[in-house]
Amino acid sequence: VSSFDFGGGVPLDRRQFLARCGVLGAGLTLAGGPLASLARAQDPAADLAKVAAAIMRALAHDTFAGLVAFAVPGNDMYSKAQGVTSPTPGGVDNRAHELIMESADYFAPLPDNYAQAMAAAFATSVSDSPLPAGALEALGLELEQQAVTLDRALQALLGNDGAVPLSLLFALTLNFEASAVNPASILGPIPTSPFANLAFADKAKVFERIERVDTDLIAALDSNLPEPLRNEISGLIKFVGGTLLEFAGYTAFTEFGTFDREKGVATSRPVGWEVSNYLPGRSTPVDGTADFIGYYKKHKAAAGRAPKYRAAKRKKKKVVKRRRKRRPTTKRRTRHA
């Protein structure tokens, strides 16, 4: 990861980048907590990683909650924030966002590979597309001080070899794009995630940008990548964009929300099962069903070969058989005669 000069504070465009990714918002939310404790800490540097982890985890949590609400809305705060709700439970109620985070972060080889590249890019990137005037001030942060702290926290986390949470990189991507779709999203009711603040249609626009590989984002990420990886990034972004949508569609319907990993069973009926009316009334898989009807038109055993392939084989055999039959008969007759 390239070094970053903290000495002169955080340049304006870098602050905008942090705001776009949700980092400033997350810091604001937690300002009374980890940030404040950092200010009181005896050794601020030693606590930086802890603070970074807390802030970024909050950011990722809310960003993915916004994602699963997008995939399968419910009546939760994230569904309400996007303006599309449903009276029955949704992906958030199934803790689908937690499963995405857990799965992404356990995808450990990626941080060692892709993630190092993305982390390097995010740690130093800026955007050429400024936020509207006054947007940063509206966050209410004492920017000079807190932006420095937050930027250090982000860099501490991303610069930690082998321990970059992939969920954070995905969340940063979604939030960065969200602020491009609607810059006001950095000021919404969910300060930890611009993406989660977007209206449903705007969330779709985020994925439209990602799937067509937003050139601004690529430029922002690519500028810091080592040469062999530079050609990888557009494929990666496409992969990430698609995978997030597919994984959101998957996780919302799993048993994860009520699954006891130690016991290997769901402790109650999974939300995903309930909303899909799967195995009504059950929370465990079945050993069988009474779905066996029979065999279609009593077709229980396909013939070995189609006539085209059977006929040729038989013809040959018949010829051989005839010859074999005739010869002994003739001989016998001869003998009898």
Partner: protein, 592 residues
């Protein structure tokens, strides 16, 4: 020193291993993943616990799934590569669909439609010559005509309703529909007739119990010996036979199986035309210890993505550049029919009905539980319905533009999972050099440089693209005739699941890696016995049976050519994996 080392205990490796061992050879079978020896207790059959690509018990990674991460593979596009490690490989989650290839995929085909296939990449031998190998595997597994459940009944109504004839043969000679030829034991006793677990243990229940969990691994019927489990994944069929070959085959020897053994290098001696494989290096995925083993013959069977990786990581020659090229994936697409009546989507075998269209590919029904249904509905190259099309969003006889439903539309669609009927579009796709495996430029993992899989879905050949469109139209007609009130076309991004031909055999040395016996052209004594060896996408049918028949043919060739053995296919019937002699052997050896 073993006679033969087989790398990979998935769909093909155990077939070659079993045949060679049954005929007296000393075989070492190395598998990178774990060997599950108590699936009844360890496989929960919950979707995420089974299928989560990072922590599922059917993932691609080392054993100890909660403490060791999965093996990451580099994908250069929106796509999903569905690999499985462990004994059984991808057959652990397959649906047991075992149709034969289309005759038009072979070099003896002279039908009127002979130009409708991938004519530049045919198999370097004839379909007629290959038929005895099909029959050998079909008897061994065994392959049986699928029983019908509700979703099959609907599919057949739709297929017959649009005028397709029923095919009663194992060979496909015309456009037609049929129950699948499945490597799944037909239901017997109480199987398929009850949901009461107490009545579904062996031997009261025999064969398929219609539980609906093919994709999560087959443990039914409970208490059945491992070789009598309903689904004939190789961990239930060929592997138990391989491990007991000394007991049921006169003159046979038991295969030595080593799980958690990741092969990192093929060892060779000589150079140029005399370059020869002499063994392998492998790494214990649990301890990290490295081992070397030599043998007279080495058989690669790690799969379409891993074979090229191992080849390239071993520094083996690639004179024509075709190592890893020509990857075919049947360029799947996905149709979802929404009904106002029960479809039985989540019940029974994953797929028991299909349509075959020579020269085009085919269709099959696919039943899914909710999370996989959610995944399948959102894997798209066409954006989000109603919002953006990602440069595609084709329109046609389906409802609205192609694309993924999200939000309320997705939720509404899945609100009653048993009122959906899915149709998988399986394209007869061309071998194309651009679709390939290369070594990723990302840093290596503990086993060496990782593979990168490159597919270009928008640049497929004209024939491939046209086939996919034709089949989609046919699938929609079928669904509507079956009673679907709404049909969604998802326009799947590459789901790399049916994998073929990345180390293809062929008659032309300029575009093939293997000769007509599946031996590497550039390295003597090195064979391939998995889907990578297939010459093409076999015309669209699911590839497992063809791979297993080809692995049998390859094993026979190895036996005759390198060990002075006799041909065995076509000279008497094989021992079935469910024969009493095998069951006795499995029980005697304590294989579970």
């Amino acid at each position: 020193m073993p006679d033969v080392i087989v790398i990979g205990a998935g769909g093909g490796g155990p077939v070659a291993a079993k045949e060679l061992a049954a005929h007296g050879l000393d075989v070492l079978l190395l598998e990178a993943g774990p060997h599950e020896t108590d699936p009844e207790n360890n496989w929960s059959r919950y979707e995420n616990d089974a299928n989560n690509p990072t922590t599922g018990y059917l993932r691609y990674g080392p054993g100890d799934r909660f403490n060791k991460p999965n093996w990451f593979r580099d994908l250069a596009q929106n796509s999903f590569l569905w690999q499985l490690s462990g004994v059984g490989g991808t057959t652990q989650h397959y649906y047991g669909n075992n149709p034969r290839a289309l005759p038009g995929a072979f070099n003896d085909y002279d039908g009127a439609d002979k130009d409708a296939y991938d004519v530049d990449h045919r198999f370097p031998f004839g379909y007629r010559e290959f038929l005895p190998y099909y029959e050998w595997v079909e008897a061994t597994l065994p392959v049986q005509t699928a029983a019908m459940g509700r979703k099959e009944q609907l599919f057949f109504e739709g297929a017959a309703g649009i005028g397709l004839p029923l095919n009663r043969y194992k060979d496909v000679t015309r456009t037609s529909f049929r129950p699948q030829e499945n490597a799944i034991l037909q239901p017997g006793g109480t199987a398929g007739k009850t949901t009461d677990s107490a009545k579904l243990t062996y031997p009261q229940a025999r064969g398929c119990t219609f539980c609906g969990y093919c994709f999560q691994g087959c443990v039914q019927p409970r208490k059945a010996p491992r070789n009598l489990k309903a689904k004939r994944s190789t961990d239930n069929s060929y592997v138990p036979m391989a491990l007991t070959a000394d007991l049921w085959s006169k003159g046979g020897r038991a295969v030595k199986l080593v799980p958690d053994a990741y092969v990192t290098r093929i060892l060779t001696e000589g150079a140029g035309d005399s370059l020869r494989a002499i063994g392998v290096q492998w790494r214990d995925t649990q301890t990290g210890a490295r081992h070397t083993e030599t043998a007279k013959i080495v058989v690669m069977a790690g799969g379409c993505t891993e074979d090229p990786r191992l080849w390239l990581n071993s520094g083996l020659p690639n004179p024509n550049g075709w190592v890893g090229r020509g990857y075919t994936d049947h360029f799947f697409d996905w149709l979802v029919g929404v009904f106002d009546k029960d479809t039985g989507n989540t019940r029974g075998v994953g797929s028991s009905a299909r349509v075959d269209v020579p020269g085009r590919g085919g269709l099959e029904n696919v039943g899914l539980p909710p999370a996989l249904e959610g995944f399948a509905a959102t894997l798209s190259e066409s954006g989000i319905r109603g919002h953006y099309k990602n440069g595609r969003g084709m329109t046609g006889p389906w409802d609205g533009p192609a694309g993924r439903p999200m939000g309320l539309e997705l939720k509404e669609m899945l609100s009653n999972i048993d009122r959906l009927l899915n149709v998988l579009v399986i394209t007869d796709d061309d071998v194309e050099a651009q679709n390939r495996v290369v070594r990723s430029s990302l840093p290596p993992d503990e086993n060496g440089p990782i593979p990168k899989v490159v597919f270009r879905p928008r640049r497929r050949s004209k024939r491939t693209l046209a086939n996919r469109e034709d089949l989609n139209a046919l699938g929609v007609a079928l669904l509507r005739k079956a009673g679907a009130k709404k049909v969604l076309r998802i326009d799947w991004a590459p789901l790399i699941l049916h994998v073929q031909s990345s180390m293809r055999m062929g008659s032309d040395p300029r575009n093939s890696v293997l000769d007509e016996h599946a031996q590497a052209r550039a390295v003597k004594g090195l064979y391939i016995a998995d889907n990578a060896a297939l010459a093409n996408g076999i015309g669209g049918p699911n590839p497992t049976l063809t791979t297993q028949a080809l692995a049998t043919r390859t094993a026979e060739h190895i036996l005759v050519t390198h060990f002075a053995g006799d041909r065995f296919v076509g000279r008497g019937a094989p021992v079935s994996s469910i024969a009493d002699s095998v069951t006795k052997a499995v029980l005697a050896r304590g294989i579970t």
